[in-house]
Each structure stands twice: as C-alpha cells, then as structure tokens.
Symmetry: C2
C-alpha cells in the first residue's frame, strides 16, 4: 500500500481515512458498517481503556457484564427510549441454520424461530434496570455503581471508521441512587472524569455542557456532554453523562425502602465513551505526514532506529541499544527497538512518523562513540542531539513537553474558533467561512433549533456549564433569550 497521505487541504475526509488505514489503526470488514480494529489501533484503545478504568475504580465503580441480547419488549418499556433506538438495531429472529433441502446451501431453519425477537444491545439501560429490580430492595443496597466494557450495535446507514460504525466498543456506566441530588452529583462527577481524561491524557480540550432537550439521550432527564473541535472546524461529541431521573426505575418497577421505611423509585444515571474517541483523537492532532499521538496514551512512546552498514556493525549497536532500551523502560517509558533488517532507516522514519510515535531516536556507531543519540519529536519535527548520560530523564521531559504542546496547540485552535455572533447573517457566514463553535442566542424552542439545523446543518452542541446569563435576541426569530448556546456543524 502506498504510504502517501492525502493532504488535509485537498480532501479532509480522505486524509482521515488514509490515517486510519495507513497508520494501521483499523480496516474495513466484510460486514457492512463493521470495522476491524488492528493491533496498533487496539493497543491505543487499551491504553485509553486502562486510564478510564482506573478512574472509574478510583471513584468507587465496579465492572460487571450484562447480556448482549435484549428482549424486544424491554426496549418498549421506556417510551422515549424505544423511539430513539428501535430504528437502528440488529434483530435476532432465529437460533439455527440447516442444510437447504433444495440444495441451496445453508439456510435459516424456519422451525427455529424465537418466540420473542432479541435485539443486539444498542445500549443496556433496559436489560440492566430489569436486573437491578432484583438487586435493590433497601437504601442499604444503594448507591449501586456499576460499569460495563462491551460491544454495542446501532444499524447506522452511513458509517465512517471509528466515528460511526454499526458495531463499536464502549463502556457504559449505570448507577442507582437513593436521591435525585446524589444521582445528579454522580452525573456531574463522571462528566468531570471524562473531561479530565480528554484534556490531560488525550490532550483534547473540551467544552463541558448540557444538551438541549432535542439532543438528549432517549430516556434521559438531562444529558451532559463534552464537546471537542476538529481541525476542519466541525465539533465532535466526545462523551456523555445522563441523569435519567426515575424514568427507568418506573419502567422496570425498581423501588426501594428508604431510611424512613417508605417505598420510592430509584434514581439513575448512565454515562459512556466509545471507540469514537479514537476518531476525535486522530482529527485533533494529526498532520499531513500521519498520525500524531499524545505520549500519555501512545502505544509506543519512543522508537529506536539503528543506523548501520552490515551485520557486524549492527551486532555492535544491538548490545548498546539494548542498554538504552532497558534504561528507558526502567523509567516507565514504552520503547520499541526496530532492528528489522528488511527495511532501511528512511523507510522506518516515514513509518513511525505515519504511526505518530511521539519520539524517534536514531543511533549510529559514531553517535555511540560520542556518547550521544539523535532525537526527533513527532509534533514539531524538531531534531536534537542528546547525551546518553541522563537520557531517560531528558526523554521523559521531552514526552511531557510534547503532551503539553499538543494540548496547547489544540486549545489555541479551539479558543480561536469560538465566535460570538448576534445576527443570522453573521451566523451563516461564520459557519461557512470559519467553522468552529458559534456562540449565539436562541429562543429556547425545539422548532427554532430544527429550523436552524435544516438551514445550516448546525446543531446546538451544548449549553456550557456555568454559562453567563445575558439578555439577547434569538439569531433566527429575534425572540428574547437569556443566554448564549454553542452551535456547530458536527460529526
């Protein structure tokens, strides 16, 4: 496969696909809308998952696992929920194949029809709350703080690698509480966990906010979200945390006896992030030479490429490089020594640039004589000569600098792409010419929101938390408004 990447300026969408495919993150599969996550992409997901999982456990959550299948009738129990999820689901109707008696190969056995169809989970609120009914009797059983790492399926018509796939991997937290206040505090806490992860590990600055009613999760009272900005000026929802009120408890009759020994319905939250985050990560940091990955979640932080002529010179290098590898690994740095003899150094340089490895070290015999190595950073492409003495400390500093630089750069771009507008003319002009978030007044109605979407493809990404209250007029209808909201075109 050619390693040439389409330039962002030429075709942004093709650039993105090139990065995913040629960077070795994922591949198309034979199943419509489903992708294969390749080892390098999966290692990235594992790194992200490990950080999040630790944070979930630190905040008192435990992992569990619930069934892949949901009885069809469960989906209907919460009225909004069925509206949101019935339209895009994989339906299991039979449980056996058989040889076609007419010689047509293997066919579905009509005698093996399920009494009730099963839906491949698009999200697990229903099956989980049906289970919680058996687990919760008293306030002593609360709070119940559970997370699940799982695959889910939503039958999307138009799919994009990582960003929108029929099957995707995610985590879904589902918690149960004795009071509304506790559940809201949990919802907000998990939003903070996601924001901290996005900003301090993915180096992706996010706006924290709450969704407008039209954009809420199907069945939620409030949906909180973090919104990130891509390099093409489009927004991406990077995580959501829902306050579900008592909706699912009522749908599945989950009541508990409170401290006053009175029965009440349980309060719920759910929250999730998915492999979609990888799509966002790619689009925030990468450039026309390939992926750029933040050191804190990069599967390989440092690659070492030996420069040599002939097997003898290589043998001499190997021994010394293995010492460097050992030193770096002892310092907690993940290192790959690429001593594959089939590829030349130039090919390797291009390969690891494509793969977004934060730091590249090139080592030749003369460098080692001089007790130095040649170091290149992926983000700025800056090169430097560093002494072997104290290398691990210097590389760790460099990794920290790269992490910070990626965040600063993304934040600068994001901050310079939040534009306040007060007229419809400006609104359309900014969306078309500049992109990014547009901060504007809105009259608060779903009708206006929909009209704006129809006319511009922009949606309300969120109403930021701690939004300053300010008198103004809706950009479309001129009706009075008390605060600005953030619009954007989005993935």
């Amino acid at each position: 496969m050619s390693k040439e990447i389409t330039a962002r300026s030429e075709d942004y969408s093709k650039w993105y696909n090139d990065l995913v495919l040629k960077g070795g993150l994922a591949d198309y599969s034979a199943v419509r809308g489903c992708m294969v996550i390749k080892p390098y992409g999966f290692a990235l997901w594992e790194a992200m998952r490990d950080v999040l999982d630790r944070k979930f456990k630190e905040t008192g959550h435990q992992n569990a696992y619930f069934p892949l299948f949901i009885p069809k009738s469960f989906l209907s129990k919460e009225a909004d929920h069925i509206e949101g999820f019935a339209k895009e689901c994989a339906v299991v109707t039979h449980y056996r194949l058989k040889n076609d008696p007419n010689g047509g190969g293997v066919v579905v056995d009509p005698e093996a029809k399920l009494e009730e169809e099963l839906i491949v989970r698009p999200t697990s609120e229903t099956i989980i709350w049906n289970t919680y009914k058996d687990w919760i009797q008293s306030y002593r059983d609360l709070p119940l703080l559970i997370n699940q790492w799982a695959n889910v399926v939503r039958w999307e018509m138009r799919t994009r690698l990582f960003l929108r796939t029929a099957e995707f991997l995610w985590q879904e937290g589902h918690t149960a509480h004795a009071t509304a206040d506790e559940a809201i505090a949990e919802t907000r806490q998990m939003l903070e966990v996601y924001a901290d992860f996005a900003e301090n590990y993915m180096a992706v600055p996010v706006v924290k906010g709450v969704k407008s009613p039209s954009e809420r999760f199907a069945g939620a009272v409030d949906t909180y979200c973090i919104e990130a900005l891509m390099q093409d000026g489009k927004a991406l929802q990077a995580g959501t945390s829902h306050f579900l009120g008592q909706n699912f408890a009522k749908a599945f009759d989950v009541q508990f006896s409170n401290k006053e020994n009175k029965l009440d319905y349980v309060w719920a939250t759910s929250w999730g992030v998915s492999t979609r985050l990888i799509g966002g990560l790619i689009m925030v940091h990468s450039d026309d030479q390939g992926l750029v990955l933040p050191p804190k979640i990069a599967p390989i932080q440092v690659v070492i490429v030996p420069i040599y002529k002939g097997a003898d010179q290589k043998a001499g290098l190997d021994e010394k490089v293995m010492e460097i590898v050992k030193t770096l690994r002892s310092a907690g740095i993940s290192v790959k020594y690429d001593d594959n003899d089939n590829n030349r150094p130039g090919w390797k340089f291009a390969e690891y640039e494509m793969k977004g490895v934060p730091v590249r070290i090139a080592v030749g015999a003369r460098d080692l004589e001089n007790q130095v190595v040649e170091v290149a950073r992926r983000d700025t492409k800056e090169k430097m000569t560093l002494p072997l003495e104290g290398l691990a400390g210097n590389i760790q500093n460099l990794l920290d600098q790269i992490q910070q630089n990626l965040y600063d750069k993304a934040k600068q771009y994001r901050d310079s792409h939040i534009t306040r507008v007060d007229t419809w003319e400006e609104f359309e002009k900014v969306l078309d010419e500049k992109g990014g978030f547009v901060s504007a007044h809105w009259d608060g109605t779903a009708e206006t929101e929909e009209q704006i979407k129809d006319r511009t493809k922009a949606t309300i990404r969120c109403i930021p938390l701690n939004n300053p209250q300010e008198e103004g007029k809706c950009i479309l209808t001129g009706k009075p408004s008390k605060e600005r909201v953030l619009f954007a075109r989005a993935y």
Copy 2:
C-alpha cells in the same frame, strides 16, 4: 436471600448453583441461557484475564478486534466448520423495528430484511481468515500472532451458569505461520501457557493431551486440550489449542509467497479459554461453607473485620487498621477493610467465608494493645494469632501456603482418581462408583468411541501427551490397541 448452602453430598448441582448465586459471582438474566456476571465474579474474570493477557503478550501476541457478525456464507466455506457450528447460532435477519400499524406494539419491520443473514459469532476463524487474506502476502508478513477478547454466542439448549451459557466471554487466539512445524509449535506453546495458568494461578492440576478425531474442533487437524477433574469425579475441558493445518487458508484463499518466491497456503492455529474456567475453579476448590479462591487470582486476598462496641471504640480501631491496610497494600496484597456498621462481625465472617476470601483478619482493641491480630485461613479454617510486627511478610507467606495447599489437595484428589482398568466390567464399575479419569485401551475407531459414550456417557477426554506406548486390548471390542486413553464423564 438465605446464606445456607446445599451440601455437596446432598445435591452437587444445587451446591454449585448456590455458590455462584450466593457467592455473588453471577445471576440469571431475562434472556434465555444468558447470565449476568456480577461485580465479584467479573473481578475474578479480570484477575484471570490480566494474567493470561500478560502471558500472551510475553509470547509475542497482540490484541485486535474483529466484527461480532459473520456473514452466513462465510460459515459454509470450511466444510467441517459449518457442521460444527450451524446448529447452535443466533441469526440476525432484520435491522429495524417499527410501530405495529395494527397497534400491536413494536414489531420487526419486514422491509428491513437483510440480503444475507448475519450470524452472531460462535467463534471467529471465518471472519478473521477472510481478513487475513488482505494482510498476508509474503513470508515477511508471518508469523501473524493475534488474540481477541470477545463475547461469543452458541445457542445451547441446556445451560448452566458459567459452565454452559448461550453467550460467554472468552479469548480466541488466531495465528498464521509459514510452515506446519511453526504452527504446531505455536499450538503446543499455547497449550503450555494454558496449563501453566491453570496449575500455577488457578491451582487446578490438568492433564495435557490431544483429542480423538471425534472430539476435535470443527475444522481442526488436531485439537490439544487441558482437562481438569471436578470434586464429583467429572472432567472439565479447561482450554483448547487447535492446529488448523491449511484448512482455513484454503477456504479463504490465503496464500503467501515464501522465501523461494513460491505461493503456498498459510498454516493456522487457534486457541481459547472462556468464562467456563470460573465454573471449573469453583468446583475444584470450594466446600460446603462456600467458595474457596486461590490467592493468586482472588479479587480480595485479605479481608479485615473490626471487632468493637460503639462508635468511640470503632474510631480508635479505624486509624490503626488503616495503617495495617497500608502496610499490606504496599506489599502488593489486595485488602478490603469491611467497617460497615450495618452488619455484625459474625455475619461478616460467614459472608467472606462464602465469598472464598483466602485470609480473614479480625482486629479488636485488646489485640492492638497486645500488638497482634487474629488471622483465619479459608482453606483449612485454621486460626492463628500473628504479631503486627512483620505482618505483611507473614501474610504473604500464608497466601503462598494457601495457594500451594489448594493445588496439592486438588492434585492428590485428581491423582487418586485416575484408574487403570482392563475390562468392560471394571470400566463401568469405576465410572459408576468412583468417577474420575479411567485409563483404558481403545481400538481407535469412532464407532467404538460412540458406543462407549452411548452406554456409559463417558467420552475420551484426551490422549495424554507423551503417552507411554503399551500393547493391550480395547475394553469394549477386544481389538488390539497400542496405548491407553483417558475416559471420563464430563461437563
């Protein structure tokens, strides 16, 4: 729920279910044959998964993720494979629900019928080898060493928690090699990894062997396995590693150019263990008081229960116990301090006995005055007084002793339940009265194997590796045989 457990001697099967349900490992779900893995059970699976995952990575494997769905036609491409898996699969036929125009709630939308049905993966050889076709061109692309952690579905008619469920969690390794020898070496290596894990982490002794042709994986040339023995004398297959020859490469046309630049089909292996292992773990070690978990994979290694009267005394204890907790954790021991005021110490003792926590420490004010704690081990129920001084080291020694004791005890039971028999009469008698493995001669034919199964429910569990060659006569037919094989009734 009553914490009373049915005795093994009374009803072994009910004893097992009591342990799973009352020990908090898993629960039944609303979906036929699917279970919910509860937090304590999932923590156990995580501990097992982490060890295995590390071992896979140490032997050069990488994780990846392939689609949940398999196009129906893929299953048919390998002739034996379709025979083995078509009879028990979940079939997705539609991709949308809609509101019933006749008011019957939500129904499958007949217009959203898939052109080709999708099978929820029962195992992933087909979808993976269809993908490998694009990844492998040259010997330089080999070996390809990939593992996947995933959920799979097999529509079993009779299910048991952990032991046989419609959906279960597992890992499946799928590797591709340039030569048969390399693939066979990989198959054997992974069998060793499984055996090492079973014996040194699960404390479960296993027999390593190869399956008879009738018991092979559908599509394999050879199936290697590890077989464990439960306390009721029945065997359980604890892991399998398959040498697939070129069967899947031929079915999916995966060829590579070898070093001589000639095209050849790729050689394959696959290998897997599942949540079924948890069922085996329970049945090998547990007793009539509850679960007994080996320290190396126990989610909680040590529980500390405070003994006090009133809040003042408790406050005094808390501070000192937190020091003990800190000391133990620094030594890498996982500790839970159960200071829940709602339950009395006696209740807690029974609870953690039920949950199989290897070591329980009870701490009262007088103990602390005397600079000691009361320690009880779960396996032997032995109690001892240990000084605070040097506690972490003593507890670690105790955990090591418990691990060793569990293995020794299980091995003694297993070894005393391998019985050599030479006549049909003895064969039936041992199976009925003693159980365990029966080492007997067999004429090597599938017909005899099936007759023996029909008459006794015993199957050939394996032909042990390095089996001594010995002249003998088949216990059923009297025909000549060159080696003994291991029969048993099995889960």
